[in-house]
């Protein structure tokens, strides 16, 4: 069975190759068949492999194909498959498949249909490579591939300059994290002479015990993860990434890209555990991010930006769990989040499509009767997001908060996470109410194609019952010591979402004036702008850089180059006089040249 492992990333990669090379000439039906079919194949293979793995339970490594060999560094193409990979595989191919199915209907008729599926397949393929990689360099390949695809897909509708800007922003910001990761890899090469993940972790545990290296490497790895997963301080690209088509947002937020950072930390936990201070930092970063992003989500006007900030916030939970040492809870939340966030995005896409590409929440409302199915999807998705009991989100978030408390007790990060739960519930409710209650502003056109309904219905089921899916993580993470959690803490965890909900209902019912004033307040405006991080970075980094560039424009070093350009332009102008289109002049020129040459010969 493991012989088939290589096919899982190969299928989408191959399909994307075909689609990007000749896709424009294939019919839409063939493109769909290829694009969705390849992911379906990967999903089926993954299913078989995971079933196999659940029965046998041993991590496997495929044959290593030599890739590059230089100055003692041997890198090979090899895939590694264990419990963590299995969970990621399931999420990526399963949710990815549903998103592909949905896209087939959502993007039908777009002129870049084949290109879209080519990018989408490349995205899934790169992500699969990332989670299956046996080697840090291969992982880095997938890592960069994911970054490239996010750039391509966010800027998919490239005729709009704003989309191109958003794509560039996503690319540049994540690049900052990527450089940190690259530095970490270089340190590994320098220290161990290999990039094989398992070997590196084993040796690190032997050699780095008590040394500073683990601190720095873990910090750099965290830098990479923060960039990819849009955590503080590199979270600013994700809200802008909403410029891409909605299925792309779903893919980025649920199945691929942003979960890469969580995966990276989970995969290299061996190194992180050597650096307790970094673990605390991870938890703090996660907690801060989750709270700040939740606050931002509370005041957004754009439907997709609400979801974007909620993603940042939920990833923050995962980081918090990772930092607290509750790795399996983090991965558990990663999975459930993938389900309900994909559901929310696809349902949002459905609403946006029905409202003729309207994304502003202020121009929505009263859609409960008109779009009942979307309302149902949103209800389930929001409930899971708010972690109401019996939904999948409830179990995972519960697990995070409980285990984190058990490991660390009530630190600042934990209290922030707890408060975040209430805010999460509040903004989920706000989103739902704004969409489906109140006065109708825009008249939707009901459009429920079966290809749109089926993925949504499946995701509804997953968002509700996804927590029941077993996670074979026992062999990957050390089991947690069972600790006693005070009943009051447990109660608080259970109460928090309801607190948020009740507040929300009260505000909706009686606080109209307050909401109005609050919406215009300076604090809300700053929250809406993502706590001013964009402005900060703009003032701190972008403007000085632009200033430098402007100062350098008339550089002395450029002068020789410009002189060459000037010279060739003049020369061109001078020579183009001879290109006057008079055929006989040309012939005369040739004859004159012959005469001159002969003169030279004669004399």
């Amino acid at each position: 069975m493991t012989a088939w492992l290589g096919w899982i990333p190969a299928l989408p990669l191959f399909s994307s190759l075909v689609l990007l090379l000749v896709g424009g000439r294939l019919g839409q039906r063939l493109v769909t068949l290829l694009g969705v079919g390849s992911v379906l194949g990967s999903a089926l293979l993954s299913g078989l492999l995971i079933a196999d793995f659940l029965a046998e339970g041993a991590a496997v490594t495929t044959r290593q194909l030599p890739w590059l060999s230089s100055m003692g560094l041997e890198v090979a193409f090899g895939l590694y498959f264990d419990g963590l990979s299995a969970v990621m595989l399931g999420v990526i191919t399963g949710v990815g498949l549903l998103i592909h199915l949905y896209s087939a209907a959502y993007m039908a008729g777009d002129e870049g249909y084949a290109r879209f599926f080519g990018y989408l397949n490349l995205f899934v393929g790169a992500m699969l490579l990332l989670v299956l990689a046996d080697d840090f360099l291969l992982l880095y390949l997938g890592w960069e591939g994911v970054g490239l695809c996010s750039f391509l897909l966010i800027g998919f509708w490239y005729r709009e300059p704003a989309n191109g800007y958003a794509a560039r922003k996503a690319f540049v910001v994540t690049r900052v994290g990527d450089i940190a990761l690259a530095v970490a890899l270089l340190i590994m090469i320098q220290q161990f002479g290999t990039l094989h993940i398992q070997t590196v972790i084993e040796r690190a545990q032997l050699q780095w015990l008590g040394s500073d290296w683990s601190f720095w490497v873990a910090l750099l790895l965290l830098g990479g993860a923060v960039g990819k997963s849009a955590q503080l301080p590199l979270q600013t690209w994700l809200p802008d990434a909403m410029a891409g088509p909605t299925p792309v947002s779903a893919l980025i937020h649920a199945a691929t890209m942003v979960t890469a950072g969580v995966y990276l930390i989970a995969r290299t936990q061996g190194i992180f555990l050597l650096a307790p201070r970094i673990m605390e930092l991870v938890a703090l970063v996660g907690a801060l991010t989750l709270f700040l992003a939740a606050c931002s989500a509370l005041v957004q006007h754009d439907l997709k930006r609400v979801l974007a900030y909620s993603t940042i916030s939920q990833i923050g939970y995962m980081f918090f769990a990772l930092g607290a040492g509750a790795f399996s809870a983090a991965i558990f939340h990663l999975m459930t989040h993938a389900f309900f966030k994909a559901l929310l995005f696809l349902a949002a896409g459905q609403v946006i499509l029905s409202l003729h590409h309207e994304q502003d929440l202020r121009r929505m409302g009263g859609l409960l009767r008109r779009l009942p199915f979307s309302a149902l999807c949103f209800a389930i998705g929001c409930a899971a997001l708010a972690a109401l009991p019996l939904t999948s989100g409830f179990y995972s978030k519960d697990a995070i908060l409980l285990q984190a408390y058990g490991l660390h007790g009530g630190s600042l990060a934990w209290w922030l996470a707890l408060a975040g739960a209430a805010v999460t519930a509040l903004y989920s409710l706000r989103l739902f109410l704004k969409l489906f209650f109140g006065e109708a502003v825009t008249e939707p056109s009901p459009d429920m194609r079966p290809t749109l309904v089926v993925p949504l219905a499946l995701l509804c089921l997953l968002a509700l019952f996804g927590a029941l899916i077993p996670q074979p993580l026992g062999a990957v993470f050390a089991p947690l010591a069972a600790t006693e959690v005070p009943a009051a803490v447990h109660g608080a965890i259970l109460i928090m979402p309801w607190l948020g909900l009740v507040t929300g209902v009260l505000l909706w019912r009686y606080g109209r004036g307050f909401r109005q004033r609050w919406s215009d307040s300076a604090l809300a405006r700053s929250w809406r702008a993502g706590w001013g991080f964009d402005a900060l970075y703009d003032g701190l980094l972008v403007q000085p850089l632009l200033l430098l560039a402007r100062l350098n424009r008339k550089d002395l070093a450029d002068r020789p180059v410009q002189f060459v350009a000037w010279l060739s332009a003049r020369g061109h102008a001078w020579l183009s006089v001879t290109q006057n289109g008079r055929l006989r002049r040309y012939a005369a020129g040739i004859a004159l040249g012959a005469v001159l040459v002969l003169t030279v010969v004669t004399l």
């Binding site: 290109q579 006057n580 289109g581 008079r582 055929l583 006989r584 012939a587 005369a588 004859a591």
Partner: protein
């Protein structure tokens, strides 16, 4: 033919070719009509071909005639294309004036 030597001194043949070539060149340079330019070109081609055949005859081998065949092919291709252009030119401009074609675009 006489196997002991060439019919005429080789310089005379070369001179003839040079003269033919120059006449053709003069035609190309002076005529404005595309058809006449073509004919002058044919003269020049023939002068070149003559030199080849003459050289082949001087050395008594077939290479000269082989090159002549290549020139023949070249002339055929050239005339086919040029005549196609002539027809197009006449269709569009109602004239074969080559100087009316000095406008360039792109």
């Amino acid at each position: 033919m006489e196997s002991q030597g060439l019919l005429i001194p080789i310089e005379h043949g070369l001179l003839f070719a040079a003269a033919l070539f120059c006449i053709g060149l003069a035609g190309v340079l002076t005529r404005r009509n595309l058809l006449f330019m073509l004919m002058s070109l044919e003269l020049m081609l023939n002068a070149a071909a003559f030199v080849f055949v003459l050289a082949g005859a001087v050395h008594g081998n077939a290479d000269g005639q082989v090159m002549f065949i290549l020139i023949l092919t070249l002339a055929a291709a050239e005339v086919a294309l040029a005549l196609a252009l002539v027809v197009q030119l006449y269709r569009r401009r109602r004239s074969l004036d080559i100087d009316s074609l000095d406008g360039m675009r792109g």
